[in-house]
């Protein structure tokens, strides 16, 4: 009886002479699938988080404003010398 049951459902039958995938239990298959799906989802989310991080500013804004090429404006626009 037991032998017949194992014959009809190869997934449940863990026999050393069976091939690797057939010897895998249902629990192993389901657990590894769920863990794999979660790992993929975590990886994709981490990538999205990395993308959404604002790019670091190249320089301080005040410094850029102070060092802008105002000398090019001498005939175009009057700009105060100091800040």
């Amino acid at each position: 009886m037991i032998w017949k049951f194992q014959q009809s459902s190869p997934i449940l039958a863990v026999q050393p002479e069976k091939r690797m995938f057939e010897a895998m239990g249902l629990e192993t298959v389901i657990v590894s699938t769920i863990i794999g799906a979660c790992a993929l989802s975590f990886g994709a989310s981490a990538y999205l988080f990395m993308r959404a991080r604002p790019a670091p500013a190249a320089k301080d804004l005040d410094k850029i404003v102070k060092n802008a090429p105002y000398h090019r404006l001498h005939n175009v626009l009057k700009v105060e010398a100091g800040s």
Partner: protein, 173 residues
Amino acid sequence: MKTPLRFKRRPATALVAMANSLSMGDAVPGGELSQIIGAVVLDQAERAALLAAIRASNDPDCGLAVADLLAAYATEAAEAEAQARDADQVIGQWAQRLAAGALLASFGAAIAGTVTGGLAFGLTLLSFSGFIFATASRIGGRGKMRRRAQARESADSLARHVLEAGKLRKEGK
């Protein structure tokens, strides 16, 4: 519109200076230029100061150069927005669906009794936290997308207004 005789050193005047410098053949670091434009387009006071500076300038091409820089910034922002939308729809949505599927699968396996005890609990917890993580990352990505869209629209409208200010200056109104 009255304009002041002397302008302060502020992002708006720095942008006009950079545009002038560029049209005269001098190089301006690209990162600094986009940072200045980003500071100008999202600030009401800087926008007003930029329009006043364009009206007060003696160079008729000054407004055109600034408007072109603003339009280029808007194009760049639109590109970044499209990339963020693609990432959200292609990756974010599927990360969420995958985590939701894993959650349902772990529920199903636990109910059917295939996976029991601590393992079932751990799987459910893992997929649930994955779903929350995916949702949070999507919200963050969409926030960036919105900021980009706002920058694009502001830069577009400011470019139009700068051109108008240049025309007004030419007509001497």
